[in-house]
């Protein structure tokens, strides 16, 4: 069973502050059947060059999730 969306949001909250510093919102848009969906949205002041690349973000998210989160696939949507 996958962890609940709120638990995942809590685990990723500090990563979300990292993105906020560059003008992006990191949003957990869905969790189910082991699949985690994340959406990154740009605020008006967002810095294009500052955005961490997708491959790294997948790894950072994996490293931030607790062991028992039951997530085996991470889909990320960039602006």
């Amino acid at each position: 069973m996958s962890a609940a969306p709120d638990a995942i949001r809590a685990a990723l909250s500090s990563l979300a502050t990292v993105f906020a510093a560059d003008g992006y919102r990191l949003i957990v848009s869905g969790v189910g059947a082991g699949r985690l969906k994340i959406r990154v949205e740009a605020e008006p002041n967002a810095c294009a060059d500052c955005l961490i690349d997708k491959e790294t973000l997948v790894g950072l998210v994996q490293s931030s999730l607790p062991e028992n989160a039951g997530i085996h696939a991470i889909d990320i949507q960039y602006p």
Binding site: A33, R35, K54, E55, A73, D75, I76
Partner: protein
């Protein structure tokens, strides 16, 4: 009341199943087609047929360098739609893909957008229903379609090469969905591919070759020389060679269907003779090379040596067609692995 309740329950189960399949279809990690959900039962059955422990590590899959276990392979193969009985072929195929000589990273991620062509030889073809005849390149045959597809799912999930992320293919090609054929050994007068490459009669094997999409050789004139001329001119095509670049001077595959095969065989041609002849004559003239490369040091032979042309007897029994499949690069060499059945030493 009771009937309505049962109908409701059925609808709920249906809805859940569809939701599951739909969410996987939306994933960036899929190939764009629906999968068979990899449940424990189906995966365990596949692992049993592989004859090894599910946790046994087969090697590292690039570009991710993830260590791939028999179970990892089973999960992807089941998702692709493979039957558990295909396991020995799939395992041999994965071993071949992970061989450094093959360079799956280059084949999967280069802008040239090539795909591993899987060629199956030996008795295993009959046992699992690999098509070697009409429409050998598809569609219509589960073994071919799903074993070929398992390649792509593994490149995506285990290699972590997603299109337009690590996989920089400019155009890609349809073979990247599935590219798996068997050799028509029963009808062919010539030595099967795997025996030429060192295996023994009675053994089964998988050969992987990093290739572009196929170019049809379309020669209907009733002459062996005409067929050979068609093959030579299809190979020696300046627009596809890219001599000065990493992606030139690659190995090639020639697939000969029955009518061309019989015509050549009747005039005394066999695989070795065809190779020698074609290697010598498939040469791009200097002027033509200059047009596409800007400069040239003289004419250029497309094949570096005769052995760089793999010849496979496959295809339908009616139709005067052959196919040329250029390779990704001289950096990727075809790799042949024996298919092992039954319980294995690990």
């Amino acid at each position: 009341m009771k009937i309505a309740a049962v109908r409701d329950e059925h609808e709920q189960v249906e809805a859940r199943l569809i939701q599951l399949l739909e969410s996987q279809l939306d994933s960036e990690w899929g190939d764009g087609l629906p999968i068979l959900p990899p449940t424990h039962q189906s995966v365990d059955a596949f692992v049993r047929h592989a004859g090894m422990d599910g946790a046994h590590v087969l090697g590292k899959f690039r570009p991710s360098e993830i260590e791939v276990s028999v179970r990892d392979v089973a999960i992807n193969a089941i998702m692709a739609g493979c039957k558990p009985g295909y396991a020995p072929v799939v395992v041999a195929m994965v071993r071949a893909l992970m061989d450094e000589e093959f360079d799956v990273w280059g084949v999967a991620c280069s802008t040239k957008g090539s795909a591993p062509l899987v060629i199956v030889n030996g008795p295993i073809r009959r046992e699992i229903g690999i098509n070697c005849r009409g429409n050998v390149f598809g569609p219509g045959f589960r073994a071919n379609a799903t074993i070929g597809r398992a390649v792509r799912l593994m490149i995506l999930n285990l290699g972590r090469a997603r299109p337009n992320e690590l996989d920089k293919g400019t155009l890609g090609h349809p073979g990247r969905f599935s590219y798996c054929i068997g050799e028509d050994e029963e009808d062919s007068p010539w030595t099967p591919l795997h025996l030429e490459r060192g295996l023994k009669a009675g053994e089964s094997a998988v050969t992987v070759f990093g290739g572009e999409s196929l170019r049809l050789v379309n020669v209907h004139y009733n002459s062996a020389d005409a067929v050979l001329a068609g093959i030579v001119s299809t190979l020696a095509c300046p627009g596809i060679l890219n001599a000065g670049n990493l992606t030139g001077r690659s190995p090639h595959v020639l697939v000969l269907a029955k009518e061309h095969r019989d015509l050549l065989n009747a005039r005394g041609w066999n695989k070795a003779r065809i190779r020698e002849y074609v290697a010598e004559r498939a040469v791009i003239p200097e002027e033509a090379l200059k047009q596409v490369a800007g400069e040239a040091d003289g004419p250029l032979a497309v094949l570096q040596k005769p052995e760089d042309l793999l010849i496979v007897a496959a295809g339908g029994h009616a139709g005067r067609f052959a196919a040329i499949i250029p390779g990704w690069s001289w950096q990727s060499q075809p790799v042949t692995v024996r298919v092992q059945t039954g319980k294995q030493e690990q």
